[in-house]
């Protein structure tokens, strides 16, 4: 009975959405049909052409210099430049969640496994983890050029930590991670404040944006993405560690 009601509610919700989907018509605007989006009606049009501050002509990969946002990856330019404030918030959310987890279940000790882990596993885990760290760093440093960025990069680093934690039952993450996490977050805020002090606008890019497509371009974007990547990596590692720790024994 309860399930039937639940299913009914879910179905009605589905119907509600179906009702409003494809509601774009001549008379009224609505949600456009799938795939038939007119980007000129959206703000993203300006993000693609990088002409928010003024019409700067067509952007060409590898040629355009000092475009208003130097990232070739448009998603990255939105995430870390146009809407960087959201990302600061996002970082904060993750940070807060990690803090919450630490408050709730952190601070315990790990339980030893009944069987000892083979040293080969430990060592190979360490090697793979190092590789993962490097890969993660690569992902976030190239965030403005290729898919990926701070968050996946950080998560990949955390995956390395996870591997090490799984492989060694006595392994704990370093306390330094917290410092790294905090410092990186603080750095992000400081970059923002620097923008405020230098240019009068919080989080505004105050570095030259370079040539489109170069590694050292896009102004603050690689810096911020690195900060984010390190921060997320440290954060998630600590979070995983908290999940490994058992409550009760300190």
């Amino acid at each position: 009975m309860k399930k039937a009601i639940a299913a009914l509610i879910a179905f009605l919700f589905f119907l509600m959405f179906v009702n409003i989907l494809n509601s774009d018509s001549e008379e009224f605007k609505g949600i456009p049909k799938f795939g038939e989006v007119n980007l000129t009606e959206r703000v993203s049009n300006k993000y693609i052409s990088k002409s928010v501050s003024g019409d700067s002509g067509e952007i060409v990969y590898g040629k355009t210099e000092n475009a208003e946002s130097g990232s070739a990856n448009m998603v990255t330019s939105i995430v870390v430049n146009y809407r960087s404030f959201d990302t600061l918030g996002e970082v904060t959310v993750l940070f807060l969640a990690a803090t919450g987890v630490a408050i709730l279940i952190g601070g315990g000790q790990r339980k030893s496994l009944a069987i000892s882990v083979n040293p080969i596993v430990k060592i190979s885990a360490r090697i793979i983890a190092t590789l993962l760290l490097a890969f993660g760093a690569y992902v976030f440093i190239h965030g403005h050029l290729t898919p990926g960025g701070g968050f996946p990069g950080g998560t990949i680093i955390a995956a390395g930590t996870l591997l090490m934690l799984v492989a060694d039952d006595k392994k704990r993450t370093s306390k330094l991670l917290k410092i790294l996490e905090g410092t990186m977050g603080f750095l992000y805020v400081v970059i923002g404040i620097a923008g405020l002090l230098v240019t009068g606008s919080f989080l505004k890019n105050f570095l030259p944006t370079g040539t489109m497509g170069n590694l050292f371009s896009a102004g603050l974007i690689p810096i911020i993405y690195s900060v984010i990547g390190l921060k997320v990596g440290a954060e998630l590692s600590a979070l995983l560690d908290d999940f490994f720790a058992e409550e009760g024994r300190k």
Binding site: K2, I5, A6, I9, L12, F13, M16, N19
Partner: protein
């Protein structure tokens, strides 16, 4: 002095007194009584009509209005008289506390502000101020008062909020809340809004005056309030209800704006209904007062009964009704304050309120007894005291309009009052003295003084009611009503006249004759109160008799089966709690599914319904 200034003084005095009382109770209480007496004298000596618009703005465009019309002057003086006398009375009370003083100052501020107000919003603001401070005051002393004060809270909330609604309804409809301007606009208002406003105001007035069917809070809160506060509660605060009632029926003459309604006995239907409520209140108050065993509860119900008189009289309107009602406000304020004060003095000395635990205190506290005696004679409406004048005028109006059923209620209250006022008189002051009260002393001077003043005033206006009525005539003149004819000692009414001085003279002549006969007889032998006729039995041990407990047992038996009004509030609260339990299971279940489901359903229903 600007009128809003004196209210400000009273308000600022509150925290100052509070902190002063932290250092010395005595000094703070004395200062408090000085302030109250000053305010009373200030109001009393005010002459002429003043209307101040204070600079204080409550809402945009709405300012506090204070003023002195004869109406404000009359009610303000009465209320401040009672408060200032109680303030003096308090100086020697035992349970002093800074909090009490703070709240008392606020009560006084509220009372002054309410009675000197010139518009409904100012009235309701200050009234509410005095209400909430009195509410907290009530619970400060006695454990029992907890339940009782909640009744007061609910009833006063019902009253205040209906009034608040009415005030804003008036504001929306007429654009003003000033009494006089509203009175003008009411004449041309649509009929339904007239009735709405009157019903809402009526609820407020009845709730605060303690009249049926909103009298239920009086018993508990008057009886369990701190003893020194009961006089203010009964003598002063319920009179603000009468003030609103007077504005309703006389300033906005309800008789003329409801002229389209059928009228019964020369008064319009609205007033007639109001008069009936007053009448029922008289009967209920009287019956219940007779049945009470606790002195303060008894006096509380007598307040219900007398509020009924005021409501009845004001609803009747006409020259005698209005003047009688206004006079009764004065009389009852004096008498009930004196009654409560004398009882407070007794409680101060003996520490109990149960009549069956007292007795024979007349020898120990003669002045208190005298104050009480005069007050009850006034309440019962027996001639040489001022209570008779108002009742007499009310009867004149009843006769004039030919309303036998309402007259029945009025007579019931009057005759019944003999029964209930006599009960504490007997139980507390007469009869045999309890051994534990052997060492009871007369109340201290600061208690005697206010009681004596009130008593003397009662006697003065009893002998010369024309003096009080001459003031009331000014009010009636101000509202455009017909004044009553007066000579120095006579009041000339519809069905004849009454010479108060002559009656008093006759009484004294009779008393002197009696005294002469008394002196002519042989001197009587004084015997102990224990030495009485026992039907020939010899009592080896001195048993104390106390016949006040269930004194009117036969009468009680007649009314035992009557439904009690006091329970409707309790059952209402149970109903609300049941509703709460239902709502909780519906909307606040223990598990999240419940409210997620409700939220989703609301979303979906809203979507399909609104699209």
């Amino acid at each position: 002095m600007d009128l809003s200034m004196i209210i400000l003084i009273s308000l600022i005095a509150a925290p100052i007194l509070y902190f002063l009382a932290k250092f010395s109770h005595k000094i703070a209480y004395i200062l408090f009584s000085f302030i109250q007496v000053f305010l009373f004298v200030f109001i009393l000596l005010q002459k002429g009509i003043i209307n101040t618009v204070s600079s204080f703005e409550i809402m945009d465009g709405l300012k506090l209005n204070f003023g002195f019309t004869p109406i404000n002057w009359y009610f303000g003086s009465i209320i401040m008289l009672i408060i200032s006398m109680s303030a003096i009375f308090m100086i020697s009370i035992k349970k002093k506390s800074p909090a009490k003083l703070l709240l008392l100052s606020l009560v006084s501020t509220g009372a002054i502000g309410a009675t000197l107000s010139m518009d409904f919003l100012t009235l309701v603001i200050f009234w509410e101020l005095s209400t909430w401070s009195s509410l907290i005051l009530i619970v400060l002393d006695k454990e029992k008062s907890f339940r009782e004060a909640i009744k007061y809270v609910s009833v006063s909330a019902i009253g205040t909020y209906s009034m608040l609604y009415a005030v804003f309804y008036i504001l929306k409809s007429f654009g003003t809340v000033n009494y006089l301007e509203v009175a003008d606009k009411m004449k041309v208002a649509p009929e339904s809004s007239k009735i709405l406003i009157f019903v809402l105001f009526g609820i407020m007035a009845l709730a605060k005056a303690g009249s049926f069917p909103l009298h239920i809070w009086l018993r508990g809160s008057h009886s369990t309030a701190p003893d020194e506060f009961s006089p203010i509660l009964s003598g002063a605060l319920t009179k603000i209800g009468a003030y609103l009632l007077f504005i309703m029926v006389a300033v906005i003459p309800s008789s003329s704006i409801f002229s389209w309604l059928p009228s019964i006995g020369g008064i319009t239907l609205v007033n007639y209904v109001l008069a009936w409520l007053g009448g029922i209140s008289i009967v209920v108050g009287t019956v219940m007062a007779i049945r009470m065993e606790d002195v303060k509860e008894l006096i509380a119900f007598s307040t219900v009964s007398n509020s009924g008189y005021i409501v009845l009289a004001m609803a009747l309107g006409g020259t005698y009704g209005t003047i009688g009602g206004l006079m009764h406000v004065l009389n009852h304020a004096l008498a009930s304050a004196a009654m409560f004060m004398s009882m407070a003095a007794v409680i101060h000395r003996t520490g109990t309120t149960k009549m069956r635990e007292m007795g024979g205190l007349i020898t120990k506290m003669p002045i208190t007894f005298a104050a009480y005696l005069v007050a009850i004679i006034s309440v019962a409406g027996i001639p040489p005291m001022s209570g008779f004048a108002s009742k007499w005028l009310i009867y004149q109006q009843l006769v004039k309009n030919g309303l036998p059923f309402l007259a029945f209620a009025a007579f019931f209250g009057s005759v019944g009052s003999f029964m209930y006022v006599f009960k504490p008189l007997t139980g507390v002051f007469l009869g045999q003295l309890k051994p534990e009260h052997k060492n009871v002393k007369e109340a201290p001077f600061t208690m005697i003084l206010p009681m004596s003043i009130l008593t003397l005033l009662t006697i003065f206006w009893g002998i010369l009611p024309s003096n009080a009525i001459s003031f009331i005539n000014k009010i009636v003149h101000y509202t455009g009503g017909k004044e009553i004819q007066l000579t120095f000692s006579r009041i000339i009414a519809l069905t004849g006249q009454w010479d108060s001085v002559l009656v008093t003279m006759a009484f004294f002549v009779g008393f002197i004759i009696a005294f002469i006969i008394f002196l002519m007889g042989k001197k009587a032998r004084q015997v102990d109160l224990m030495d009485t006729y026992t039907g020939g039995e010899f009592l080896y041990t001195a048993e104390l008799y106390h016949f006040v407990y269930k004194m009117y047992r036969p009468f009680d038996r007649m009314f035992e089966k009557w439904p009690s009004m006091e329970n409707w509030l309790t059952s209402l609260s149970y109903k609300i709690k049941e509703l709460g339990a239902l709502l909780k299971t519906l909307f606040y279940p223990k598990y999240p599914q419940g409210y997620v489901a409700v939220s989703m359903l609301t979303l979906l229903v809203a979507f399909w319904w609104l699209r």
